[in-house]
C-alpha cells in the first residue's frame, strides 16, 4: 500500500510504509553523523512513521498536549510580498497584531520594520517606539519587537567593512577575519541601541530572527548584543532564533565566551544562547528539497530532540517554509506542515513552535 506524502520541494509523491521508514532512518543517520548526536529510538521512528503514513489531511496532538505558538516576522506575513512569504495584503501594524491575537491563535506576536533587519531600524527608532507604545496599549498577548541581526548589512557594499567572502577569494584571509570581527562588534552595538529603546517603549522583549545568517561573526555579534540587552534589561523576554542548523564558518575562529561558534549544531548553539541571556531558543533544521518529507522529518526531529534534551531554557522549533522538515515552498502544503508540527511536539518534545 502506498501513502500520499511529499518531497522537500512540496511535490506530491506516493511511498510505501517501508520506504517511509527507510527515509526516516536515513535522515536520522545524516543528522546523527553531522551533529555527533544520538539516533532516535525505535519508538520515535514508529511514531514518526505513523504520522507520515496517516491518510488524514491534517493530524494533531492530543488535547492537553498543546504547545506555545510564537509568530515571527510581525505584520509582514500579511503585508509582505512573496519575497518574504507574505500575502500582499496591506494593513496597519495594530490591525495585524490584533488579528493574530484574536483570530489566529498567536500566543505571542511582534512588531517589525518592513526591512526586518536591525540596522535600518536605527534611523526610525522613534517611530518604532511610538508604534510599540500604541500597540502595547491595546494588545494582551506578549508583544515583542523582531528583527534579523543581519551582519551582511555591515559589509561592503552596504556597510563600512570589507566583504569577507570577496577578500577570501583574493586569499586575504586575515583581512577577511578582521572585517568580520569589526562587523560583529558593530552589530552588537546596534542591537543594544535598538533593543533597549524598544524595551523602554514597553516591548515585552525582543526576537532575534535568523541569528548567524551571515555566518559565525553574525552569530557572535548577536550573542554579544543579547548579553548587553540582558544586562541593561534584566526582565526582557529574549528569543534567540537561529538561521540554520549549523553556524556557517565564514570567519572560522571567532568565539563567544571562549567557544568557537563555527560549526555548532542546535544542541550546542542553545548553550551559548543560554549564556548570553536568552529566555527561549529558536532551533532550526534546514529542509533538503531533493529528499522526501520522511527523510527531512527524520533528520529535523533528530537534531531538535537532542537540542531540547540539552537545553535548560525552553526551545521553540522554527517551522516556516524550508525548515523543520517543512517543504521549501511559499505555500507549504498543510498536510506536510501539520505532520512536521505533530512530530516535533510528540517526539522532539519542543516547548513551542
Amino acid at each position: 500500500m502506498a501513502f500520499y506524502t511529499r518531497m522537500g520541494d512540496g511535490k506530491r509523491v506516493e511511498m510505501t510504509r517501508e520506504a517511509i521508514i527507510d527515509d526516516i532512518r536515513a535522515g536520522m543517520a545524516d543528522a546523527a553523523d553531522m551533529g555527533g548526536i544520538p539516533d532516535l529510538t525505535e519508538d520515535d521512528i514508529a511514531i514518526i512513521t505513523d504520522i507520515v503514513a496517516c491518510n488524514d489531511r491534517m493530524v494533531g496532538v492530543a488535547p492537553g498536549e498543546e504547545i506555545v505558538l510564537t509568530y515571527d516576522i510581525g505584520q509582514l506575513d500579511f503585508t509582505g510580498d512573496n519575497g518574504n512569504s507574505g500575502n500582499g495584503v496591506d494593513m496597519g501594524r495594530l490591525e495585524a497584531a490584533l488579528l493574530h491575537e484574536r483570530a489566529l491563535g498567536a500566543d505571542t506576536f511582534e512588531l517589525a520594520h518592513s526591512d526586518y533587519s536591525i540596522k535600518p531600524v536605527k534611523p526610525v527608532i522613534s517611530m518604532e517606539m511610538q508604534t510599540m507604545e500604541e500597540i502595547q496599549a491595546e494588545i494582551v498577548a506578549p508583544y515583542f519587537y523582531g528583527a534579523m541581526p543581519n551582519c551582511g548589512l555591515y559589509y561592503a557594499p552596504d556597510g563600512p567593512y570589507g566583504n569577507p567572502a570577496d577578500l577570501m577569494r583574493e586569499f586575504k584571509i586575515d583581512e577577511a577575519m578582521a572585517a568580520a570581527e569589526a562587523a560583529a562588534d558593530h552589530v552588537a552595538r546596534d542591537i543594544e541601541y535598538v533593543t533597549t529603546r524598544l524595551i523602554q517603549a514597553g516591548a515585552d522583549g525582543f526576537n532575534f530572527d535568523t541569528t548567524g545568517s551571515a555566518g559565525d561573526a553574525d552569530c557572535v555579534g548577536t550573542l554579544n548584543g543579547v548579553r548587553m540587552l540582558r544586562e541593561a534589561c534584566p526582565d526582557a523576554y529574549i528569543n534567540v532564533g537561529m538561521a540554520g542548523e549549523s553556524v556557517m564558518g565564514i570567519h572560522g575562529m571567532i568565539e563567544f565566551d571562549g567557544q568557537i561558534v563555527a560549526g555548532l549544531y542546535p544542541h550546542q548553539q542553545v548553550k551559548l544562547a543560554q549564556k548570553a541571556g536568552a529566555s527561549v531558543f529558536g532551533a532550526v533544521c534546514n529542509t533538503n528539497t531533493s529528499k522526501s518529507l520522511a527523510w527531512n522529518l527524520g533528520r529535523s526531529v533528530t537534531f531538535i530532540k537532542e537540542c531540547v534534551n540539552q537545553a535548560e531554557i525552553p526551545v521553540h522549533v522554527d517551522m516556516g517554509m524550508g525548515v523543520g522538515g517543512i517543504p521549501m515552498l511559499e505555500t507549504p502544503p498543510i498536510d506536510a506542515v501539520s505532520r512536521c508540527n505533530k512530530a516535533m511536539v510528540e517526539v522532539a518534545h519542543v516547548d513551542g513552535v
Partner: protein, 107 residues
C-alpha cells in the same frame, strides 16, 4: 502557514490561555518548560491542564478574571488593563504595565 500550526498543536492565544503559558516560558525569572508553564497557569487559574486550552472553559473564565477576551466585549478590560490583571494572576511583572505605572504615578 499560521493556521495549520495553530490547528495542529497551538494553545490558542487569548482564545484560551496560550498567552499566559507563553509568559511563563519567556519570563526570565521563570523560563519554564511547557509542562511546568502549563501546570503553573492551570494552578493560578484554578482549573486543570486540559482546561487551559479548552475554549469552552477559558472564554468565560477570561472574561470573569478581566484578562482579555478574543471577542468584542464592550467594557471588558483589554490592553494594559487586562495585562495588569494578568500580572496579579500570575504573580509576574509585565514591562508595558510597569512603564504605565511609572508614567501615571509621577505626581
Amino acid at each position: 502557514m499560521d493556521l495549520p500550526h495553530f490547528l495542529t498543536s497551538g494553545m490558542g492565544g487569548i482564545r484560551t490561555a496560550g498567552d499566559l503559558v507563553a509568559r511563563m516560558e519567556y519570563d526570565p525569572k521563570h523560563k519554564m518548560h511547557i509542562k511546568d508553564a502549563k501546570a503553573y497557569v492551570a494552578k493560578k487559574l484554578g482549573v486543570s491542564v486540559l482546561d487551559i486550552a479548552d475554549e469552552s472553559v477559558m472564554r468565560d473564565l477570561r472574561e470573569e478574571l478581566g484578562i482579555g477576551v478574543c471577542t468584542g466585549v464592550p467594557g471588558a478590560p483589554r490592553g494594559i488593563a487586562a495585562k495588569m490583571n494578568i500580572e496579579k494572576l500570575l504573580d509576574i511583572e509585565i514591562n508595558s504595565c510597569k512603564i504605565f505605572r511609572e508614567k501615571t504615578q509621577k505626581n
